[in-house]
């Protein structure tokens, strides 16, 4: 049997091809084409493992995946910004069709109508879900989308301070800082009960429901911001919006969200898609890509990237944003999810989350040693005060085959942020309650 490994399945050219091509090029060897690299730097050696054939690699990767204790095999009550939702089996085979999966950014609209029309649908459906006038084609994720919202608010208001409620996801706050501070924008946290706004505050940023699962008095926050000439910027959970009054209903100016909730697998952190919506009047300040409708030379409807396609190439350091490759495919995933769920389905899912979370919360609140430190209306997440440190509770739950909630003891002593969605069966909830009861 042949000893030499087969040549790469991804490189079509053979030795014969290469010889013929080198002859056309007028060079003796492929190595010669690298002659511009100074010799002392050339071929430095690459200490990478030997190639692993597909059959073995698949087994190796499966074994690696198996080392995770994951929601495919265990009940999970972890949310904190990344949510498990049921996604119909039909989504993946459509999204992974090669024509969607392996196409480039639609710079050539004549041969990219699939991606462009899909993006237009994303813009339509997210704008409608958020009750906002316009949406862009999506950002990297919910956090960076909110950060770009802060930047946009500064551009619109020409102000340079950003107020963030201290009930916003702390990672989102870090991301806002990451994006804004280098530009000399000051970010400060403030209490939702009495938000502090200054004359140079560009926007008041809140989260809906907030990081701890509750709803603030959103209308009051929006009105306050507007009274100060600041914009109201809000990060929203898309699932909640199927049930609750959307940001547009409060007069929010810029509303963003983590599209992951729209059926996207958690995938240990990404890829997700950031939703970015705003008032019509800010359309020319929108960061990222946008698809628009137009006509072709024969009057047929078609779609193009518009407003700032490839804007960095033209505007370079004056570009609205540096975002180039974004997450179109995940936007498509969310679009297909939304079209399947539709009006009734998404509402139904939201109501299931509500029902199950409230049931779980009420059961846990009855357990000795447990309480719910936060009062006020919540959707699918709630903080529980545990009789022991949250990390210990989490470890004890793991032993019982349950993925516990996020440790929020920095904010609530022995606090754990639990999330219950439609994927959690009553049986899982009872198992959680029983386990917590045992852990007391």
């Amino acid at each position: 049997m042949s000893d030499s490994p087969l040549t790469s399945p991804f490189i079509p050219n053979t030795d014969d091809d290469r010889a013929a091509m080198l002859a056309e090029v007028g060079t003796a060897a492929v190595e010669d084409l690298f002659g511009d690299i100074p010799e002392q730097f050339r071929h430095p050696g690459l200490a990478l493992p030997a190639p692993v054939p597909e059959m073995e690699l698949r087994a190796e990767m499966s074994a690696l995946a198996q080392r995770n204790f994951h929601a495919g095999e265990h009940a999970s009550f972890l949310g904190a910004g990344v949510y498990q939702h049921f996604c119909p089996a039909v989504v993946a085979p459509l999204v992974t069709r090669g024509e969607f999966l392996t196409s480039y950014t639609p710079y050539q609209p004549e041969v990219s109508q699939g991606t462009l029309q899909g993006t237009f649908e994303f813009q339509t459906l997210t704008a409608q879900l958020f009750g906002m006038e316009v949406s862009n084609a999506g950002m990297y994720d919910g956090a960076s989308s909110l950060a770009e919202g802060a930047l946009m608010a500064c551009r619109v208001t020409k102000r340079s301070r950003v107020a963030v409620l201290d009930t916003v996801n702390p990672r989102y706050v870090e991301t806002i800082r990451f994006y804004t501070q280098p530009q000399g924008i000051e970010v400060y946290e403030t209490d939702p009960a009495s938000p502090e706004l200054h004359a140079d505050t560009a926007c008041l940023i809140s989260q809906y429901p907030n990081f701890f699962g509750c709803f603030e008095d959103t209308q009051a926050l929006v009105d306050l911001a507007h009274a100060q000439g600041a914009l109201a910027v809000m990060s929203c959970d898309p699932t909640a919006l199927a049930m609750y009054k959307p940001p547009g209903g409060f007069g929010v100016d810029i509303a963003t969200g983590e599209g992951q909730a729209l059926g996207i697998p958690p995938s240990f952190g990404g890829p997700y898609v950031g939703i970015f919506t705003c008032r019509q009047e800010y359309v020319r300040q929108l960061p990222g890509r946008i698809a628009g409708r137009t006509v072709d030379t024969e009057g047929r409807t078609g779609y193009v990237l518009t407003l700032q396609p490839r804007e960095q190439h033209i505007r370079r350091e004056h570009a609205t944003s540096n975002i180039c490759t974004s997450t179109a495919l995940i936007g498509l995933w969310a679009t297909i999810y939304l079209s399947l769920m539709g009006k009734q389905g998404l509402r139904h899912v939201a109501e299931l989350c509500y029902q199950k979370a409230h049931y779980a919360a009420s059961r846990i609140a009855e357990l000795p040693g447990y309480s719910l430190p936060v009062s006020g209306p919540f959707f699918q997440e709630f903080v529980v005060t545990c009789p022991r440190p949250a990390a210990e509770v989490s470890a004890a739950l793991e032993q019982r085959g349950i993925i516990g909630g996020l440790d929020v003891s920095d904010r609530y002593p022995n606090g754990m942020l639990l999330c219950v969605t439609e994927v959690n069966t009553r049986d899982q909830i009872e198992r959680l309650v029983d386990a917590l009861g045992e852990i007391s």
């Binding site: 991804f10 490189i11 084409l33 999970s76 240990f268 628009g292 990390a391």
Partner: protein
Amino acid sequence: MTSTPDTPLREEAHNRRRLLMERSHPGRTGVTLPASDVPPQLIPEQAMLRDDLHLPEVTEGEVVRYFTHLSQLNFSIDTNFYPLGSCTMKYNPKLNEAVAATPGFALAHPAQPETQVQGCLEAVFRLQTYLQEVSGLPGASLAPLAGAQGELAGILTLRAALDARGEGRRRKMLIPDTAHGTNPASAAMAGFQVISVPSTSEGDIDLDAVRAEADEQLAGVMFTQPTTLGLFDRNAIEMCRIVHEAGGLVYGDGANMNALLGRAKLGHFGFDVVHMNLHKTFSTPHGGGGPGAGPICVTEALAPFLPGPIAVQREDGSYGSEMPTKSIGRCGGAQGNFGVLIRALTYISLLGGDGMLNISGNAVLNANYLLAKLRPLFELPYDRSVMHEVVFAARKRPGATALNVSKRLLDHGFHAPTMYFPLVVPEALMIEPTETESRETLDAFIETLERIDAEAAADEDFLRGAPYETPISRLDEARAARRPELRWRPSED
């Protein structure tokens, strides 16, 4: 073909492109969902609830037909050659997809305790190590979510290092005029003052221009090696020296890494920070505009400033996730596009070190072959052996502009090259074949360009009307921008 009354067909095509809201029908649904299995809970206050959720109501079958049809309107790597310079549109192995979809990876939650996600952390750690090896730089963060975010994160890392040295005054960032537009955009977002640096007539960076800026205000330079002209910049090593000597740092845009895999390491040339585009060099699919991932690698000195979190291996062999001591923070809500990282890890593992060398060798040979064969058709502004791509100027024939040639290519089933970039080349056609295309495909592409040239010679106007065979003809982009219609609106129904 024979004459045919095409009105009904047009209508049919139009029907197929009706939007979801136009297909919606009250009462239809695309899913079955369970009823609640818990005792009914108190319902929220009516005032909190919404009553205006306008989402489509369509069946699963309608969704499948609609999106399948939409997909067929696209060109893609799975169907067409994409000689799209700077984008490295190579074939994306399907194994990547299968691995990323493994439930143990796809269902892992980013906020789980480390003990529960050892598989993910080990995967990230491995890829981190591989990318360090490829770049020749010992520190790495895989957090950035795309190339441009890698640029921003990298340049902020660089800035933090300068600031930590007490050199907060250094705010001048040199950027060659050939740079990709995201470089100046990222530098500006990072609070730097952008100074454009010209190239020499041979396409290398103008060292005198660099020297002229090499002062106490100099933060550094953002440099792409090989450059967007497809050239290995012969002055870049000296440039690094000059910048370092002046107290600045060097940022490397590693988007063109496909040319260098195993042939040279950017770290060896003096680059302090480098980002790579996994969705280019490491074969993760482009998805019609993402997702991607833009990991950055840095020198030892810069490592403490990297964005986080970063995977680490602990003494007991277990894996963890940590923020570097002086980290610039987080660039997103979680910890990087793991689903993209795992694809890149799969690809590198499948091909190994020798595979990397094969990639760069074949990619560069393919580009030089196109250079040799297409030379008669176009102007060649920099007549040198190229790396992974070649930039021509379409200036030999009236009518055969970069745009018109590109549009006519679409009729023949070839995606357009990158056009009008880099800006320093008028009528630029930037062609990157990648290693995954065969000589036959390149030959067909060459022949097609020859035919297009002949068409332009025969009729100066012909190409202006192209494309003729695509699902739609040239679109009125000015109208789109003038009167933006960015979503379906009920009134239009």
